[in-house]
Subunit: 325 residues, 2 copies
């Protein structure tokens, strides 16, 4: 069995390639749009990517499912309850995906979103016990996914579903089951386990601040209050993932000619100055918004601008585009 | 807490950077000699490397401990029983290494070698339970390290120690403890868990072929018979790691001038032709030994040549040196 974790700086999303060396087959779970890394690993390990699975409709990044399916011919799988309109095979409770000697089984774990599923990972050569569980955004290391990701109006109902998913579904797995979340928890070594990107059911049950909230009411109170602001692009991203993102292919960014920049700005585009603070303070174009370049810039932009706005970036050098993208 | 695994193709060695973001401190466990990757990660995460720990004197690769200590000023830690002669701090049962909010504790697990230790990893912000155990070569995924690595003459005694380490020391840890081995197990999805590079105590106890050998005699029989041949350089590497490898720094390989190659060959150096088999078959220098370029070439060379022999490599292009090195 092969099980590899991928991380993208900035949004902190985690994705997985699960495969069987023996049969030369693999699936990718919760891919982001930078799909080269999955293709490269599959080629290196001589694996054919036969499936792409999303545990839910993501609100913080565009799924790479259509992109990967386009290149590899892989089948796209999505939770039935997502009511996605792109071409896909729906997944319901207990469904099984076979990848040679590896098996994924579907465990509904709603709460972060109504359709959220977790995927149990079995190595059938090792016996009848799950090796790991891919929890999507339901259970993170020392944390859970926010229940207002999809329908803020249904907050309390989703929080109750999340309680059930965490305390009654995931907590019933063997202690030894490795927890591979769909999202890393940033921050320091305090609450949330710092930046460790995996855990186990037993370790979470006994040491997570989340599992110390045994009482449903306390849990609901905890996860529905003091929520960080929802970036304005969440609903748009979710809708994009429901319909299927257009295929982009390999993008080679090119600098915008000054005339084009002026053209866009004259028609109301926003100008974002990404240079260091000192440079911005010294001098900057009239009306420019300062969002310093860094891995979280797309998230910070989501707080400041409406999703439909056109943005012109002022960069220090063309290479900075990679970070801003 | 930060806990990152590194892998090197070929020998398949796994090493770890364990750190605390909050305090900006880290240690590296079982480093190989290509230390740039540890330094780069530490720089990226703004961590000071304050310690380098080896779980035992490795026989299959040169430790990067002296190299890392030279660059960072980190303290070198080695098991007391290794009787190492390089400058280091000895580790004994129960010793504690503090890395900010992260703690490593020493658990002797002899058998692969007499001095082998495992390191329990604790995140003190999460409570009194180990998060993981770095098992060195004692316990691998679906396997154990060979007991003839250091003293083939002591094979049976070491196998009995290994049984005790696996069944009585490591098996007593919580099921949920993540097992991070010092070595990946290659091969297909059959015995040994394929190429998954981590597991848990509970999963190994219930599904590993090793743990199905409950009886000490059966275990000893299994691990002492049908052992793969020991490469001739094992003893030399162990001795090198005991004394401390000389600092190499960054090596920029340069092609050997023909006159120098002739000089070495005239004095008995071996000539290894690393080109593809077809090219070798068509034509090759008189007396050349064919070892095709690939990640295991250094191990294969260890089977063919005595450790003290000088080797001249015939490569297709200068870039191939990276693989051969």
């Amino acid at each position: 069995m092969i099980l590899r974790q991928f991380y993208i700086d900035g949004p902190g999303c985690l994705s997985y390639l699960v495969g069987c060396e023996h049969h030369g087959l693999a699936m990718v779970v919760d891919p982001d749009r930078h799909v080269d890394k999955y293709l490269e690993l599959a080629e290196k390990l001589d694996l054919e990517i036969i499936g792409v699975v999303d545990t839910h409709l993501h609100t913080d990044h565009v799924s790479g499912n259509t992109e990967l399916a386009d290149v590899t011919g892989a089948e796209i799988f999505l939770p039935e309850a997502a009511e996605a309109t792109l071409e896909h095979s729906p997944l319901a409770a207990g469904d099984v995906l076979e990848i040679g000697n590896v098996r994924l089984t579907v465990l509904p774990t709603p709460g972060h979103t109504p359709e959220s599923i977790s995927l149990l990972v079995w190595d059938v050569t090792r016996g009848e016990e799950p090796f790991a569980v891919l929890t999507g955004d339901t259970l993170r290391v020392g944390d859970v996914g926010r229940p207002d990701a999809s329908q803020p109006a249904e907050l309390e109902g989703l929080a109750r579903q999340l309680y059930h998913s965490v305390f009654h579904t995931l907590a019933e797995l063997p202690d030894s089951t490795i927890v591979y979340p769909g999202h890393a928890t940033g921050g320091s070594c305090g609450k949330g386990g710092g930046s460790v990107r995996l855990s186990t059911i037993g370790y979470e049950k006994r040491t997570s601040p989340i599992f110390s909230l045994r009482d449903e009411a306390a849990f609901v109170e905890f996860v529905t209050t003091q929520l960080p602001e929802r970036p304005a692009n969440h609903d748009r991203l979710r809708e994009l993932n429901r319909r299927g993102a257009p295929i982009v292919g390999v993008v080679e960014p090119e600098p915008l000619p000054l005339q084009d920049a002026v053209h866009y700005l004259a028609r109301g585009a926003a100008l974002v100055d990404t240079r260091p603070k000192a440079a911005f303070k010294e001098k900057h174009p009239h009306g420019a918004v300062h969002l310093e370049l860094g891995p979280t810039i797309s998230k910070r932009a989501g707080y400041v601008f409406y999703p439909e706005e056109t943005i012109v970036l002022l960069l220090d050098s063309p290479e900075d585009y990679e970070t801003a993208f």
